[in-house]
Amino acid sequence: MSLSVGLNCPACGGAIKVNEGEHVLNCQYCGSTLWAEGDAGVLTVAYKNMQDRDGVLRATEQWWRKGLKARDLRKKGRLLECYPIYLPFWSTVTRVAGWICGYEERTYQDRDGHSHTERIPKEEMVLNDYNYTNIACDPGDLGIKRLRNIGGEASFADFESIPTFESTTSKDDSVNGSKEKALQDARRDAGVPHVTFEKVTIIPKSISQIYYPVWVVRYSYGERMYMATVDGVTGNVLSGRAPGDPLYQSLAVTGGTSLGGLIAAAGLIVGAGSDDGTIMFGGVIVGLVILGVTYMFFRHGSEIIEGDFEDKKMKNPLKDIGIELGGLRI
């Protein structure tokens, strides 16, 4: 089998130009209408890099000052490396058309203290084109899975000079993933709590491949190496890892225990005075949630992680407590 297949017009023999993703072509010599059979690829665009090294480094330094990162990061942080790459994304448009019907229940109390539940019928049309981007390779530890910005000047001018990450995931998997996500988003947008009827049609309208410029910055803090990524079009920091600060961790748990504990106490006190159990439970639950959130920051705030990183998801308080209890049993 030969590796290369010449693309010549079957009518006049002239060399033809194929745009990826298009099945219908025109021969530029004889004007014949042509059809590309089989896999014609996908439309690909690349956005022009609009940032330079200095701008990216400055954006990273500004990012150091934001949030609960180590206070001395701007003094101790040292920028070491900074380079642009092109990351591949699948960009899909999915049309959703349908109806989701059902009802919402609202409970209210009348003057005699009896509670009534009212059913409010709802019929919601869902008609929308949902646009998603999804990274087309394994992002590793870059912390980027989708694009926040789609736009910029389309140009392949920098394509040779900037290293390009290759697409290694299937475009059809991406289309199917977008269909599922579009249905979920349509249901969320409809906002019908109790569904009695649903008829929704989902049609993938288009898929294209976007090469998006991203700058990778590596910096050190003491002996540790951290990183950040900067959007090559907008210049905003997309993701990053940074050292945390024990002071913020301690303040968080001090605030969380005091506020959470007092809210729980207030719930118990007020709840004991009325015969409605929801106030009592509500107060305790709100208090525990505040405690849980601040505990997570206290426990794991020694590293601040922004973006779509794998290890960010793992920080689940229940899992943490589960591991701890499991450890005690053994």
Partner: protein, 195 residues
Amino acid sequence: MKVVQIKCPRCQQPINSKVKDLAFYCSHCRTMHVRDGGVNVIDFDIAEFNPGAQQDRVYMPFWRLFTNFNINQSKSAGGAIYKLGKFLGGGSNSGNVFIYIPAWETNVSEFKHWAIGLTEAQPMYSLRNDFNNIERTPTVVTREEATQMADFVIVTMEAEKPGTLQYLDYSLNVQDTRLVYMPYVRGQNGFAPGL
């Protein structure tokens, strides 16, 4: 991948089209075909322009689906007039209806406007057998996609009647699909019917 010349499946004449259109029209033998997984000749109608519409004429393609449908059960909260039932005539809950799906590139609101508009007010038109060199808007929607959208049109007509739809049990069969070119006049505020 292989590149082939697009030829009319009936008379084998090559087809020359400057625009990227999924519906290939052979002006020699007046055959139209699509390439949705094979080379398939399709039925199509060209509607005659009103003689009064002379300027800025354009043909817009619609997939016209001849459907048979049957509403087994429809429950609504509030409201009593059943638009669909009325539409079918005599309050009957089953019958045949032509569903029109715009076949050119539309955004969601245009899509709904055209699909519901033509399906609710079924156009009456006389046929002609060529395009008379009038510009055709390219077709981008496949037959398959149009068929899938039929459900949306049917449910929309039932849901947009007074009252809040709560439940609908129906069956819908598409018995025939046909590409219909409807005459329009391009104006400053979009397209005006040219029938």
